[in-house]
Symmetry: C2
Subunit: 246 residues, 2 copies
Amino acid sequence: MNVSNPEPMLSPDELERRLLEIGAERYHNLHPFHRLLHDGKLNRGQVQAWALNRYYYQCRIPAKDASLLARLPTTDLRREWRRRLVDHDGEGTAPGGVERWLRLTGGLGLDNNYVMSLEGLLPGTRFAVDAYVNFVRERTVLEAVASSLTEMFSGKIISERVAGMLRNYDFVDADTLSYFTPRLTQAPLDVAFALDYVKAHAKTRLEQQGVLDALRFKCDLLWAQLDALHFAYVAPGLPPPGAFRP
Amino acid sequence: MNVSNPEPMLSPDELERRLLEIGAERYHNLHPFHRLLHDGKLNRGQVQAWALNRYYYQCRIPAKDASLLARLPTTDLRREWRRRLVDHDGEGTAPGGVERWLRLTGGLGLDNNYVMSLEGLLPGTRFAVDAYVNFVRERTVLEAVASSLTEMFSGKIISERVAGMLRNYDFVDADTLSYFTPRLTQAPLDVAFALDYVKAHAKTRLEQQGVLDALRFKCDLLWAQLDALHFAYVAPGLPPPGAFRP
């Protein structure tokens, strides 16, 4: 947190503007791996590596949300946040996000047990995702909520991804990509709540800075996951010892 | 931990042999970035990036050791482990490892305040190092001690590094590299203790597997740090937003 140049308190709208600015500079839609993925420039093995690694992120999201839920002080807040658990872990016959992600890895030809074993995971993926879970567990509720705000930018990337992947990869079909469709309606609800929350609850300049830093941290860890994938599977293409080899 | 194929208990010597095997396969002296560094193939900016990022590892080592020290049950064990704090944080007029590392970054032309601010750090470095600190805080004392055993392999790499860097880089001199000299005598003492400890205290096959997995985890996180450096500063050479640019 940079406190060497204390600024006056930001208006809620100015805080939102700065959050958007962070996304415009740092969200992982700007990462070269992302462009390659969407533009059909990856082979099947590289797309498998992406899906396999991203599975770890998906499967830790409920742990992240549960640890925040455990610290929320009111019924209303907990019910709001509980929706995320339902989205990711499913309910009755509706599969959650984690299960839908396995449909994606399965559709790409990866064995479910192998994916779930995490054996082929890049260490860089593990460290980045664990950093997120630990951040949410250890920081203030305000910072934890703020770290979810990358969803402000996810709508565009998901639309691009689905369209681009269906157009460019013959080994991908709409069923394989069914993970993404519900996210297009779930994410905006999540964002509406979380953005209102940070705008209302960041009551000092320092807390506002914490909100901005939390979003920057979250962008960094999404970006670092693509760095690790790009390094291991695109250029120079050096998967570390023990990692998945297509 | 792979428990699908339970094996009989290993002899202490067989455990040691398997630890050495992990080092032979996974220690970061095998990473291409390391070869480039030692062989004089990096420019000054790339060596700066290495030293800047590695500073974060150095400066978190005392936190890692203190959190283990806090959980050690006897005076003897705590005194043994306390030696590591003295090595890294210094004592009276003898500078510790962290201070000596700043001599290295300073000798390379980096401003101490900038280095210590961690502002230019690669997120991949931060996540890997934090994973280490968290591992030591959260796992068993046995696994935490085992994770220090990469020092079994550090003697060779340090000798190669010092000789190679002095020979190949005119911006590096012996004073700049003074970090490494004491490590050549400190590390073997640390290893002697830690290796005896894990050989004596891993009393089930599962605990032995925990020891092996801890060393593998530690190798992974050293490796991941070089992946991040290589990706950002060598090939393809894409430092993430906000990271140090030489």
